[in-house]
């Protein structure tokens, strides 16, 4: 369980003490086990490439017991209704070629096991790093003859979640070397760039100040092993790129768009900072 300087500060944080009381109760779920069977690694040794931390923590460890509990049973997880919708879409023929996802990949549980854990991933034919979303749209366009889905639209984020479910509990393991290295380096540069009028980088909040409160927000390490994330705040599934877009916007910067080369690179880099944590998607956060 994450125990940062935030825990102490929370306890003395005036109005925050009510929230803090919840995060230190004795029966808080210390381990994330989903459906009583999928044991998640929410805290582990940082990957070798990451000098900033000794230990990496899933965003799950920063949330309240109530929010954590919602992710422990699929009947409680509000995201699963969208996963069910994507399961129907998986078997539904679409496009000029008369194919569904299942036509090539078969049962999603077999065909997609382990896929989420290694994306974003270098694609030799395309000659670039692709996100899982881009791969889905490539399938839709080139194999199914179907229209691509909006990058961070409802159908796509549900499908990304369905595919991610097939890797739940597996360690994130994106490759950062070989042909992916230059994209990874680009993502790393973006991570440390101080954007906008507020001149804030990802690292300012999520590397240098995780565990503390920035106004009412308890800063996490910004791990994306739980994405797509069901947020209680907007009651829908959210992609990592939509979260990136919002964060950069909030620095008073001209932000980047979901699916942009910049956010593809950033997703690869941020995912690599969580190599070793379990794929949790669809996770539940506030």
């Amino acid at each position: 369980m994450f125990q940062g300087k935030g825990a102490l500060a929370l306890a003395i944080g005036g109005a925050l003490s009510l929230i803090a009381a919840g995060s230190v109760v004795a029966d808080e779920p210390a381990k994330l086990v989903v459906n009583g069977e999928i044991e998640m690694v929410t805290e582990t040794e940082a990957p070798a490439h990451l000098d900033a931390f000794d230990t990496i923590y899933s965003g799950w460890t920063f949330r309240t017991p109530e929010t954590r509990m919602l992710q422990m049973d699929d009947f409680d997880n509000p995201a699963m209704v969208f996963v069910d919708q994507a399961a129907e879409a998986w078997d539904t023929v679409d496009g000029s070629e008369g194919k569904s996802c299942a036509s090539c990949h078969g049962d999603v549980a077999e065909g997609m096991a382990g896929v989420r854990a290694v994306y974003p991933k270098w694609n030799e034919a395309a000659g670039k790093v692709r996100t899982l979303v881009q791969q889905v749209n490539d399938c839709r366009e080139t194999r199914m003859g179907a229209e691509p889905w909006k990058y961070d639209g409802g159908k796509m984020v549900a499908m990304e979640s369905l595919i991610s479910v097939q890797s739940r509990g597996m360690p994130v393991n994106v490759a950062i070397d070989g042909p992916a290295q230059s994209t990874w380096e680009q993502g790393k540069d973006l991570y440390y760039t101080r954007f906008g009028q507020l001149e804030l980088s990802c690292a300012n909040c999520h590397e240098n100040n995780y565990g503390t409160m920035i106004r009412a927000d308890h800063l996490s390490q910004g791990q994306i092993n739980g994405f797509p994330v069901y947020r209680l705040k907007n009651t829908k599934l959210n992609t990592a790129h939509a979260r990136f877009k919002g964060c950069v916007r909030d620095t008073r910067a001209e932000t980047f768009n979901p699916g942009s080369p910049e956010f593809v690179a950033l997703e690869l880099y941020v995912a690599s900072r969580g190599n070793g944590l379990s794929v949790e998607a669809p996770s539940v956060r506030n």
Binding site: T212, M213, A253, T255
Partner: protein, 158 residues
């Protein structure tokens, strides 16, 4: 365009220029010495009574990152920067002015945004819209607001 409108425009420009000339230091003209700024940005003392409003959300939002025990009505006080209790004892007026205007001049790599700066940003946006900024850049706080908040901070004594 009518002559009357021209006159009105010219008058407005003249007014703005005169206001600038009457002692307001433009963001790009601020002189830092060891991170401190000796001279009032408006040429006049600030009004500490305006401090709490500037410290709150929707303005300077200092409270997002700093705690101020004297302002218990401001909820969700942040923990990113040091508490501001007692800063009036720890820092001089010139140092506080410099830190508010551009903390990076005193603390290399400080996370604190520069509140009186208009140049040198990466991908500057139009406030919080996520769109590119166009036109003249205004600092996060006006010269008067900087002076007001500095005057307030000087009242925070241990």
């Amino acid at each position: 365009m009518s002559a009357g409108l021209w006159l009105a425009l010219a008058g407005g420009l003249l007014g703005a220029t005169m206001a600038q000339a009457e002692g307001v230091v433009a963001p790009s003209d601020v002189v830092f010495e060891d991170g401190a700024v000796a001279v009032s940005l408006t040429g006049a003392p600030g009004n500490p009574e305006n401090g709490p409003d500037i410290i709150n959300k929707g303005s300077g939002n200092c409270i997002a990152c700093h705690q101020v025990s004297a302002l218990p009505d401001l909820a969700f006080q942040g923990e990113i920067g040091p508490p501001l209790d007692g800063v009036g004892d720890r820092w001089s007026e010139a140092q506080l002015r410099g830190i508010v205007a551009n903390a990076k001049m005193m603390f290399d790599e400080s996370m604190m945004p520069a509140f009186y700066k208009t140049e040198g940003f990466i991908r500057l946006g139009d406030e919080f819209t996520g769109k590119a900024h166009a036109g003249e850049v205004t600092p996060i706080l006006t010269a008067e607001q900087v002076e007001d908040v500095v005057a307030y901070l000087l009242t925070l004594k241990d």
